[in-house]
């Protein structure tokens, strides 16, 4: 009996691997740029936008979104042995679950997306309203929703191109 899991491994062809490499690069530079902008806003303009974890989390989601969109737009997101419909259904489920949890918590008053952060500067206490760690679910939901929208848009563009090529062949 074969107990290895190599059959479950995602399989990408050579063009897809090339595109995914480029997409990782774009995602990496997006995160770098986000962290630099965050640093400049915090240090140069002397203001705060995010709590420590929320800032890093939004940066990570942003870079994943860039990676996913580049891959989706070049047909390198879904592997050869994956079912696109299954992936879309899973992603829509995850997106709705996260957004649902987020708004349910907000509606029940359990959480707030903004929190007050106190920072001591030169012996004085400053209050900042920053995006709190509770935005994690919402950000995650939006990320999956964005990926689903990108897949849907790409499918529409592909279908139009196929129709155009069919007309051309006729």
């Amino acid at each position: 009996m074969d107990l290895s899991f190599h059959n479950n491994k995602k399989k990408f062809d050579e063009r897809q691997q090339l595109i995914r490499g480029k997409a990782y690069k774009y995602g990496f530079f997006t995160l770098m740029l986000f962290l630099i902008i965050k640093f400049v806003i915090e240090k140069v303009f002397d203001t705060m936008l995010f709590s420590s974890f929320a800032g890093n989390w939004i940066g990570i989601c942003l870079s994943i979104a860039v990676f996913a969109i580049v891959c989706v737009w070049n047909d390198a997101y879904i592997s050869l042995n994956e079912n696109m419909k299954g992936v879309i259904i899973l992603f829509i489920g995850v997106a709705l679950l996260n957004i649902g949890i987020s708004f349910l918590n907000l509606y029940n008053g359990h959480v707030s997306f903004l929190e007050t952060m106190q920072v001591v500067k030169n012996g004085e206490i400053f209050d900042y309203s920053v995006i709190s760690v509770e935005c994690v679910n919402l950000t995650c939901g939006i990320l999956f929703l964005v990926i689903c929208i990108a897949i849907a848009l790409k499918s529409i563009v592909d279908r139009k191109e196929e129709d155009f090529e069919d007309d051309d062949a006729e």
Binding site: D13, E14, R15, Q16, D75
Partner: protein, 72 residues
């Protein structure tokens, strides 16, 4: 630079892009990109395509004197 030779060879074998893609183990979009000239395949993939279509590398991928790979 479109690769019309490959498109013609595929049509000659009465294969769709999807069928050729499955035969060589790549995605349909990769075959489409090669035919449109958007992607330069590795020699390994070129060989696999030639084997499936029953042609040679020269016939499908050799550039003409003027640097074209199409049948224009």
């Amino acid at each position: 630079m479109k690769n019309l030779k490959m498109k013609a060879a595929r049509a000659g074998k009465d294969m769709s892009q999807q069928e050729l893609a499955e035969a060589v183990g790549v995605s349909r979009q990769t075959i489409n990109s090669i035919e449109k000239g958007d992607y330069n395949p590795t020699i390994k993939l070129c060989r696999d395509i030639c084997r499936v279509l029953g042609t040679t590398l020269d016939e499908l991928f050799w550039e003409e004197e003027n640097g074209r790979t199409d049948d224009e």
